[in-house]
């Protein structure tokens, strides 16, 4: 194939892998399709303006607060030379939003409205913005930083911020959409949102009404994904270098530290105090060892399979808006779709005792999260150089694409793993009889108060998130040597 005819982001040049990735991507949308088909046959549409108002207030507040904490934290992370700050940044994402609601009540704060619910969601969502901004800043060519410093030293204003702005915006929009689909916090305080309307309608088997309530959300997600497809990706051509120092660096680190202390360290300390002793902690962990292992198995399978799929053909795809739509719908939607689909295909019975349907639903839900970091990992010029050097296709993939793909795959895998660990809705609908994930156990126990069992489980999940993230980052940094010369 000539260079001119080759698609720019087809690193291994294989049409088969592109077609395979597209086919799997379509398969991942099948549960959503099944749900939509079920809804289309049901009839009955409804929209709630009050629920929409609350949803916009809640998600908007969450996005703004995530920006306020996430952008400085991202700048601070981009200057970090060690790996552990990245791993620790993921930890707040695994504090279930319902625990923030519990903390709110324990502090005897007034009944929150939609905006205050947004504050609770931002507590777990700011790392999304921080990590995206940090990843974007890591791609600034060293030469640009040098040039900006030589020209007067305003690196942040002239180079870094313009570079990070699309990532910050994308992060804020992702937080907005995640906030709009959140159920547990607004439900705790009886704040009606689109998500609660979807639950209410699905509970009454009114799937069409549920879908109609979700449609604007889906449309918003589609529009966002469309915009994101137009944002040029800037592959990392050479290692960047720190560019912040003095007061700005101290300020960024201080904001990051405050955000992390408030949303990760504080809950961890509260949980540790609630558990009371190492012995009690060990006891709870041993009692729930099976569910912890099951959680790890399911989350690991979903994360591993998604990363493998996204690595097949790391290009841009027209299906991205649909994958993002799957992310912003409540988790029960793809789960119900997967169940319906399995019923139509007659594979429900053979799959019921495995976690295959559960893994499929989780993959549907988080396909976008795995796909986005992996697309377009290398510059076209590098591929062309490899081809001009008559490098065999497999070798070019191994020596050019893989080094760029590897760290991103590790990061994407870690994020998907952490998100899967925290999912509940799909586990209730698709979990094999006799098995529960750790988060299901935790939520069941939360009904009786936030006792040492809940606290110990939350601590284990937070530790698992930090450990897995650290390992993923460690693995990611041990990438194969890039092509020389």
């Amino acid at each position: 194939m000539s260079l001119l005819r080759r698609p720019p982001w087809n690193p291994d040049g294989s049409r088969a892998s592109q077609a395979g990735a597209r086919a799997i991507g379509l398969l991942l949308l099948a549960p959503l399709g099944a749900f939509a088909a079920e809804a289309a046959l049901g009839g009955g549409l409804s929209l709630s303006t009050r629920a929409w108002g609350n949803t916009l207030a809640l998600a908007g507040t969450a996005a703004l607060l995530a920006l306020a904490a996430g952008v400085p934290a991202g700048f601070a992370l981009a200057q970090a030379r060690r790996r552990w700050p990245f791993a620790l940044t993921l930890v707040p994402m695994l504090v279930p939003p319902a625990l923030w609601a519990a903390l709110w009540m324990a502090l005897r704060l007034p009944t929150p409205g939609a905006a205050a619910c947004g504050l609770m969601l931002a507590a777990g969502a700011w790392p999304v913005v921080a990590l995206l901004v940090a990843a974007s800043l890591a791609r600034i060519p060293r030469a640009q930083i040098d040039a900006a410093e030589l020209a007067g030293g305003r690196v942040v204003r002239t180079v870094a911020w313009p570079h990070a702005r699309p990532a910050a915006l994308a992060g804020a929009l992702v937080v907005f959409l995640l906030g709009a689909s959140e159920f547990s916090v607004p439900a705790t305080f009886a704040v009606p949102t689109v998500s609660s309307v979807i639950y209410e309608k699905m509970s009454a088997f009114e799937f069409a009404a549920a879908l109609s309530a979700a449609l604007p959300l889906v449309a918003l997600a589609g529009a966002l994904a469309f915009v994101l497809r137009r944002v040029p990706a800037v592959p990392q051509s050479a290692p960047s270098r720190p560019f912040l120092s003095g007061a700005p660096l101290h300020a960024a680190r201080a904001i990051a530290a405050v955000a992390w202390l408030a949303t990760a360290a504080l809950p961890a300390v509260v949980f540790a105090r609630t558990v009371g002793s190492v012995g009690r902690f060990a006891q709870v962990v041993s009692i729930h060892a099976e569910s912890l292992a099951w959680s790890a198995c399911v989350a690991g399978a979903a994360a591993g399979l998604l990363v493998a799929w996204a690595s097949l053909s790391p290009t841009r795809s027209r299906l991205e808006p649909l994958w993002l739509a799957a992310l912003v719908l409540p988790g029960v939607v793809p789960a119900l779709g997967a169940l319906t689909l399995a019923g139509h295909l007659g594979v429900q019975a053979p799959l019921a005792q495995s976690g295959a349907l559960l893994v499929l639903a989780l993959m549907t839900r988080f396909a976008w999260v795995a796909w986005m970091p992996l697309r377009e990992p290398v510059e076209r010029a590098q591929l062309e150089a490899a081809e001009l050097a008559a490098m065999p296709r497999a070798r070019a993939w191994r020596r050019v694409t893989l080094p760029a793909l590897w760290p991103r795959a590790a990061a994407a895998g870690a994020i998907v793993f952490v998100l899967c660990l925290g999912e509940i809705g799909p586990c209730v609908l698709l979990g094999p009889p006799g098995r529960q994930t750790a988060v299901q156990h935790m939520f069941n126990w939360m009904h009786y108060g936030y006792d040492e069992t809940v606290a110990a489980m939350a601590l284990v999940l937070m530790a698992a998130a930090a450990l897995f993230s650290w390992v993923a980052i460690h693995v990611g940094r041990r990438a194969p040597d890039p092509v020389a010369g």
Partner: protein, 315 residues
């Protein structure tokens, strides 16, 4: 890439290898895990049959299991549905997802607690009660209507009436009465929360002085030392039995029937009565006399009531 492939293969094998062949019965239950687990273990001890349970969670608001049973109708995976209330069970009956079965062990349960067609049987009940803080309330309210009085202004809490037992309570009151009560409570500074356990927690902490909740939530609070007590409303108490049913097309129907026989016997009711939630046996005279009557099949069909409640309570 080779390592990744091996990892995926291992994951797939691990997932596929999760099925086991020991004799078992599959029970889908919305009953809280902490109560149901003891019952399942007792059944396994006595019969040698393992119970594979699927639990709902508070977060899913009973949406999970009922929708799962509906979606699995073509190829049912559950043998028994054990529900903490009756409206969703009645809903399943209405769409033909249940198999009529009248356990011999439940013959002494009054007709009031059984489905007329034998699709489900009620047992071990909870009730809707007024919970109050014993440190802050000297003279507890006797009726729910009293909570709309000026002396309780800004001091009361209730769960979202669109879900769960609160929804059933509203239906039992009747549409006009329920909307009138909701409007009066709202005007009196009602604090609406997501669930009945939150109502109890607000009252226990003194953030509210009284609220409407379920007996099991109060008992759990009392056991952990919360300063709360409860009153069975004199203007009518809604009693909410558990309900148990055989799923139509159950893959282990014989073991499902055996489980129902065991679950619905007097001894199991007594076991639940001694458990942490102190569920009241429907056999005997433990239930409050002034009871609200309810047609459980009407709860899910009360769309107009819920629309009006949504409007009145700004939900």
């Amino acid at each position: 890439m080779r390592h990744l492939n091996r990892l995926f293969a291992l994951c797939v094998l691990a997932l596929a290898g999760c099925s086991r062949g020991a004799p078992h019965v599959v029970v889908y239950t919305s009953v809280d895990e902490i109560y149901a687990r003891d019952v399942f273990e007792a059944f396994t001890r006595e019969t040698g049959v393992r119970v594979k349970a699927v639990f709902d969670t508070e977060e899913a608001k009973t949406l999970g299991l009922v929708n799962r049973i509906v979606a699995e109708r073509a190829s049912p995976q559950a043998d028994v549905f054990w529900n903490g209330e009756c409206s969703r069970t009645a809903q399943l009956k209405a769409i033909g997802a249940l198999e009529p079965y009248a356990p011999a062990s439940a013959k002494d349960i009054a007709a009031e607690w059984r489905d007329a067609d034998g699709a489900w049987t009620g047992f071990g009940a909870r009730a809707r009660v007024i919970v109050y803080n014993t440190k802050r309330v000297a003279e507890p309210p006797k009726t729910i209507a009293e909570l709309a009085g000026p002396e309780w202004r800004g001091r009361i809490a209730m769960a979202n009436p669109l879900f769960g037992t609160t929804a059933a309570h509203m239906v039992a009151l009747g549409e006009e009465e329920a909307v009138k009560l909701a409007a009066a409570l709202k005007a009196n500074g009602l604090r609406l929360v997501g669930g009945n356990s939150h109502v109890r927690d607000l009252v226990a902490r003194g953030d509210c002085d009284a609220g409407i909740t379920d007996t099991d939530d109060v008992w759990i609070g009392k056991q952990r030392g919360d300063p709360i007590e409860m009153v069975f409303p004199a203007d009518g108490t809604l009693v909410i039995p558990n309900s148990a049913a055989l799923v139509k097309g159950a893959p282990n129907a014989a073991r499902g029937r055996a489980f129902l026989d065991w679950l619905l016997r007097r001894e199991t009711e007594e076991m639940l009565a001694k458990g942490p939630s102190r569920q009241m046996p429907v056999r005997g005279d433990a239930l409050p006399a002034a009871r609200l009557r309810i047609d459980w099949s009407r709860v899910a069909a009360s769309e107009e009531l819920f629309r009006r409640l949504r409007s009145v309570l700004e939900l």
